[in-house]
């Protein structure tokens, strides 16, 4: 239904989308999740050309909408868009808001637009508000109207850009219920959302966006229960990350420890756990691994703290010959590190030039 190839969107100072390649099938309900600033909204705004892509192509059916010759207004009629901030016309009452586009763009008669508009208002539970003005409605009600208005154009796909994030928490449920109904009716939906429970419940596909693209694409079970890629795992498990790349044996050891302590304090990691983490890094990283590395090397150290599980883990990736740190001759350092850890594991890897991986669960 929609094919996106090598989509790129650059702004003056930032490139939220670097290379997006996805196919969206008819009837797909796709939740788009990911950290702020990873291009989620930019992606759906590019799909209906509210943003002009810098390069790449988007096909809707057989039409290339990124082609300058394409009649985008015609394509937009097939796509409803629901914004975070509702975007209703405040000078029109609710039913007029819904009737306007079908009359202007689809050439519907006033009576037909009215009848269908009222039917849609009934669907979203707001028939009794037809003659009220937007200012008289709550945020949740306004968003339900915005959805009804999008539906009035009989779209094949609806794009929803954080539809509940501007709402009072008490109103989120009513809007989500309306969106769930749409999903059941077989409409193709793409929803940018920060609400993970909703994202999981509603979708048959989830896009996790990061690094300028759809970083991981899978079923809700795959993304939420068994994410495969590093950044997805960190996001799903709410991991707080402290990462540092060391490339010199004279690196700033005191600065590293200070930053690690600040990271711990910021994320409410118990002081004892921070000491243990520093101990494991110093004994394994500084005392055992660093002396083994070549003159030019890369040692990537990452600490991940799960606030939910209150667990801290550390990974160290390094290049050079395979060296299993558990076989170090430095038994004193290893004994100290082992005492501060629940487990110390080692694997040979081939990843971004790194050849060794040590993972430690801090006690």
């Amino acid at each position: 239904m929609i094919k996106i190839n090598h989509l790129r969107k650059e702004y003056a100072n930032i490139t939220p989308l670097k290379d997006v390649n996805v196919h969206i099938h008819k009837g797909d309900v796709i939740s788009i999740i990911g950290p702020s600033g990873t291009g989620k909204s930019t992606l759906i705004r590019c799909i209906n050309m509210l943003e002009t892509p810098t390069s790449g192509s988007i096909f809707v059916g057989n039409e290339c909408i990124t082609d300058k010759k394409c009649n985008i207004n015609k394509i937009r009629q097939k796509m409803g868009m629901v914004f975070q901030s509702f975007n209703l016309f405040n000078h029109m009452n609710i039913i007029e808001n819904i009737m306007a586009a079908p009359m202007d763009l689809l050439g519907k008669s006033k009576q037909d637009a009215y009848d269908e508009g009222m039917e849609l208002l009934r669907t979203v539970g707001l028939a009794d508000k037809a003659f009220n003005y937007p200012d008289e409605l709550s945020g949740g009600q306004k968003q339900r109207v915005a959805i009804a208005r999008a539906l009035a154009m009989e779209p094949e796909i609806i794009l929803l850009d954080e539809p509940t994030s501007a709402l009072d928490p008490t109103m989120v449920g009513e809007v989500q219920a309306v969106i769930k109904d749409l999903a059941k009716k077989g409409l193709t939906l793409m929803i940018v959302t920060h609400e993970m429970h909703f994202a999981r419940e509603i979708a048959n596909r989830v896009f996790y966006m990061d690094e300028g693209g759809v970083y991981e694409d899978g079923t809700p079970e795959e993304i939420f229960d068994n994410p495969k890629r590093e950044k997805t795992i960190r996001f799903i498990k709410h991991l707080k990350v402290f990462e540092n790349l060391i490339t010199s044996k004279d690196f700033d050891f005191i600065g590293f420890n200070t930053s690690l302590e600040e990271f711990g304090r910021r994320n409410q990691v118990p002081q004892k756990t921070i000491y243990r983490a520093q101990s494991v890094f110093e004994e394994l990283g500084v005392q055992c691994i660093l002396p083994k590395l070549d003159k030019e090397f890369r040692l990537n150290v990452a600490f991940e703290y799960s606030q939910e599980e209150e667990t801290l883990s550390m990974s160290m990736k390094y290049d050079g010959e395979h060296f299993d740190v558990r076989e170090t001759p430095n038994i004193i350092s290893f004994a100290i590190a082992e005492n501060a850890s629940k487990s110390i594991e080692y694997a040979e890897i081939q990843e971004d030039g790194f050849t060794n991986l040590v993972t430690v669960k801090i006690k």
Partner: protein, 98 residues
């Protein structure tokens, strides 16, 4: 880390506050090196020691070796975390911890 020395005849007390690790162990080594002469009893007071790594242990071990030749060395006021490090590394058997 701060190091405070207190000399009483031939008895030297060295109190360490803060961290004894890769970054600070050389300072501790330097302070001890210039203080051994004529000392028959060295007391390391660890009441303020928050963190100890293998780099610090090496300095302590060196001091123990020197004091074995010229008198005795005692470590006092060791907290639970630091004592754990002495235990897992077997240093409890080498050092005199009060």
């Amino acid at each position: 880390m701060t190091i405070e020395k207190n000399l009483n005849g031939t008895e030297l007390t060295v109190a360490i506050v803060g961290r004894l690790d890769t970054a600070t162990a050389p300072d501790m080594e330097e302070v001890l090196k210039e203080s051994f002469e004529g000392i028959t009893k060295l007391i390391l007071d660890f009441e303020g020691l928050e963190y100890l790594s293998s780099a610090g242990l090496r300095v302590i071990l060196q001091a123990q070796k020197i004091m074995n030749k010229q008198g005795e060395m005692i470590i006092k006021n060791v907290n639970k975390t630091i004592n754990e490090i002495f235990e897992v590394t077997g240093f409890v058997d080498i050092l005199t911890i009060e």
